[in-house]
């Protein structure tokens, strides 16, 4: 497997990245995690740079995580509340992006309900585009923070067996994580009813099971996906109750997992659906670590794309990380 670190202009997805690319970002993340532990968790690395956040789809967590990351790097933040403002007036996506570019954004963090929108934006702007979730396609910074969290807890993903449970069909988190976990040497098993699996997984580096109880004892990590209530209306599962019964993580199922296994969830959770509160607070659960690591990973990504050649921390020895990428 290639360990070459590619020079990236955008972060659009895990698709196309190498193991070396991912490991490079995770190594860089260590540095920023350290910054986050300081009494004043802020460095001037991106002073004078502008990060625009362009969220066409509501997201409190990802947006706050990116904005916190940018602030800790001393970047200026420009917020575009897309909602339905100018787009509902008939402005094209391209117009919107060109306007943001003309305000001087150096990076655009974009979230959109449709797959591929970040890729389209990248064709139309000189700014770095960071995909903060495109429809059911990818959510690369989520996958990076998940890998970072797993590495923090277990040292290495190589040889791990990771179960991803739930609505894989509609999940950008699952698509990015399947790619990232596999690149880092983990084995991935998808656990879901057929209606929550993608129409085709030919060629995907995964195995599939519809029996969570049978899968749990062999797992090193169990990744629970958020179950949206809308899936019930779409007829993909009969009820949240039946979903919770068959695919929810409760204390009994927690007992089937190894003592050193890791339980992850991208948040926000639906208590009693994907997992019970008891499981969420289990010592094996890293859900809050995921949130704090999210800021560090996003600092690393912003720095990687925007901060090439800049001093990482004038008062610290962080500038020797070899981050020209």
């Amino acid at each position: 497997m290639s360990t070459a670190v590619t020079t990236w202009r955008h972060l659009l997805g895990i698709d196309g990245m190498s193991r070396g690319d991912i490991e490079g970002i995770l190594d860089l993340t260590d540095t920023f995690a350290e910054v986050g532990r300081r009494s004043i968790p802020k460095v001037p690395a991106l002073r004078g740079r502008t990060v625009a956040s362009l969220f066409f789809e509501d997201s409190t967590r990802t947006r706050m995580s990116f904005e916190t990351a940018a602030k800790r790097l001393s970047a200026d933040i420009m917020t575009f509340t897309a909602g339905s403002s100018s787009l509902s007036k008939g402005e094209s996506l391209r117009d919107t992006v060109e306007v943001i570019g003309s305000y001087g954004a150096d990076a655009i963090v974009v979230r959109h309900a449709m797959a591929g929108t970040a890729h389209r934006l990248a064709d139309w702007t000189d700014a770095c585009v960071i995909n903060a979730g495109d429809g059911c396609h990818e959510h690369p910074t989520q996958a990076l923070l998940d890998c970072y969290t797993l590495r923090e807890r277990r040292g290495d993903l190589d040889g791990m067996r990771i179960g991803i449970v739930g609505d894989i069909r509609n999940s950008r988190v699952a698509r990015s994580n399947i790619l990232a976990f596999s690149l880092l040497g983990a084995e991935v098993v998808l656990v879901a009813p057929p209606t929550l699996l993608p129409p085709s997984i030919d060629g995907w580096p995964v195995t599939v099971s519809h029996d969570l109880d049978a899968v749990l004892p062999g797992l090193d990590a169990c990744y629970l996906l958020r179950m949206q209530r809308e899936r019930i209306n779409e007829g993909l599962v009969p009820s949240l109750r039946e979903y919770a019964t068959d695919y929810g993580m409760d204390a009994r199922r927690g007992g089937l997992l190894a003592a050193d296994a890791v339980i992850l969830h991208p948040g926000p959770t639906n208590p009693g659906v994907e997992l019970t509160t008891e499981v969420a607070t289990d010592p094996r659960s890293v859900i809050l670590d995921q949130v704090s690591n999210g800021v560090s990973v996003r600092m690393a990504v912003l720095f990687m794309l925007l901060g090439s050649g800049m001093d990482l921390a004038p008062d610290q020895s962080g500038a020797d990380q070899g981050v020209d990428g």
Binding site: L93, H112, M114, A115, G116, G135, S200
Partner: protein, 430 residues
């Protein structure tokens, strides 16, 4: 003034021969022979002189979306593509579902560079609820009815339309053609590309092939019940082609078309996330492309159509779900047929000219053999000339060609529409 096409090889339904073709003031072929000379002589040496092309499926956007295309610009693109008649779809704004809009399209078409044949919607407003005034429209000469852009979802209504249409045969002078856009929307809604390996990987919600196939299956059953003539628009899946093949073998009155993009592109193109590749029915798999080509070769599919669907740059510069489906087709169709269909030139001409002319009831003046007395609707094509596709260079105000930058073989040199040289040396004359 007489016009002579000199030195070309005539290829029509009667075969192939080297002939000069003389066209008189009445818009008809006055004579064919050797060493003819007229007031105007157009060089056709090294070229094929063929009956003009007939496109059964074109969106001219007028009335309603004149920023994307007009009847004038669409007809110019058609003439540049070798077409002498375009069958205009009724999904205009307002919908072509009544005498007034048909009349408007005809009036606008009178000044076009090729003949414009309006179709009308099968249901009022293309809403799939109430039958359009088919009798009144037939009395105006409308011979093709379609809700194109959507299929008629309700099987009971579809049955009634089919039954009703069979009673209009005598008034039209031939059977009414019902053209169906086969798509069960309950299965396709919320999908923006073909559902399969690529959609799963790209995270773009898909439309399963079965959305098309279920309606093909239903309509074949209803043809058996009612005896109506059903024309299947833009067949795109292997099973659809197989079902139409079976229906024809059973002697049912069905015909079918395939578009140039459905035999030249696959769903892999959507990996760019560029909605220029978004179209309904969606681009399918390699296996489907192979089945469409086989259907063209064995006669299952009667016509190559374009489903020419102009959309402004503005409307395509959106996310994949928001952009409207459709692509330009008129100026690339012949080259794609030549390069991608796997068919010989005479078969291509049959599929692009006289067979669709017969379906549309235009066989008296389009697709007719190149002999004295026939209407002069002709195109002169150079099968060897190569050219590079540019959406901006096309006649349409829109530029949504999925073949941008591709070098293609085969180009239209001249087009003669009702005796008038509307395209000369690859340039539209008006």
């Amino acid at each position: 003034m007489s016009l002579v096409l000199r030195g070309g090889t005539v290829v029509d339904s009667q075969g192939e021969r080297i002939l000069d073709v003389e066209i008189g003031d009445d818009g008809r072929i006055s004579s064919v022979g050797n060493d003819l000379s007229g007031d105007i002589n157009l060089d056709a040496s090294g070229c094929v002189v063929a009956p003009g092309f007939v496109d059964l499926h074109v969106h001219l956007r007028e009335p309603g979306q004149e920023d994307a295309e007009t009847i004038q610009t669409g007809s110019r693109g058609g003439a540049l593509g070798g077409y002498t008649v375009l069958v205009a779809m009724p999904n205009t704004e307002p919908v072509t579902d009544c005498a007034a809009v048909v009349e408007q399209v005809r009036n606008l078409g009178a000044a076009a560079l090729c003949e414009i044949v309006p179709t009308a919607a099968m249901t009022v407003g293309r809403l799939g609820v109430d039958m359009a005034p088919m009798g009144e429209l037939v009395d105006m000469g409308v011979g093709i009815f379609t809700d194109d852009g959507t299929g008629v979802q309700d099987p009971r209504l579809m049955r009634r339309i089919m039954e009703y249409s069979t009673g209009l045969t005598a008034r039209l002078g031939r059977p009414v053609v019902l053209a169906q856009h086969c798509e069960v929307s309950a299965l396709s809604d919320g999908g923006y590309m073909h559902e399969g390996d690529w959609s799963s990987r790209l995270g773009i919600p898909g439309q399963p092939a079965e959305a098309e196939e279920l309606m093909v299956m239903r309509d074949i059953a209803l043809v058996r019940l009612t005896g109506a003539h059903m024309h299947f628009q833009h067949l795109s899946t292997a099973s659809s082609v197989a079902m139409v093949r079976g229906a024809k073998a059973a002697g049912l009155p069905v015909t079918a078309e395939a578009t140039t993009h459905h035999f030249s592109l696959t769903d892999a193109a959507c990996a760019s996330y560029d909605p220029v590749f978004k179209v309904h029915p969606p681009l399918r798999t390699d296996d489907d492309v192979a089945a469409v080509r086989k259907g063209l070769a064995d006669g299952t599919i009667d016509a190559i159509a374009t489903d020419h669907a102009p959309h402004t740059d503005h409307s395509k510069e959106q996310s994949f779900d928001s952009a409207p489906p459709g692509m330009l087709g008129l100026e690339t169709a012949f080259s794609l047929a030549l390069e991608e269909s796997g068919l010989d030139l005479p078969d291509i001409l049959a599929l692009m000219s006289w067979r669709p002319a017969a379906i549309a009831g235009l066989g008296d003046r389009h697709g007719t053999p190149v002999v004295a007395g026939n209407h002069a609707n002709l195109c002169v094509i150079d099968p060897d000339e190569t050219w590079t596709v540019s959406g901006r260079a096309m006649a349409s105000p829109s530029s949504n060609t999925p073949y941008e930058g591709r070098t293609l073989r085969g180009r239209v040199r001249h087009t003669i529409s009702a005796g008038e040289p509307v395209v000369v040396d690859g340039e539209a004359r008006r």
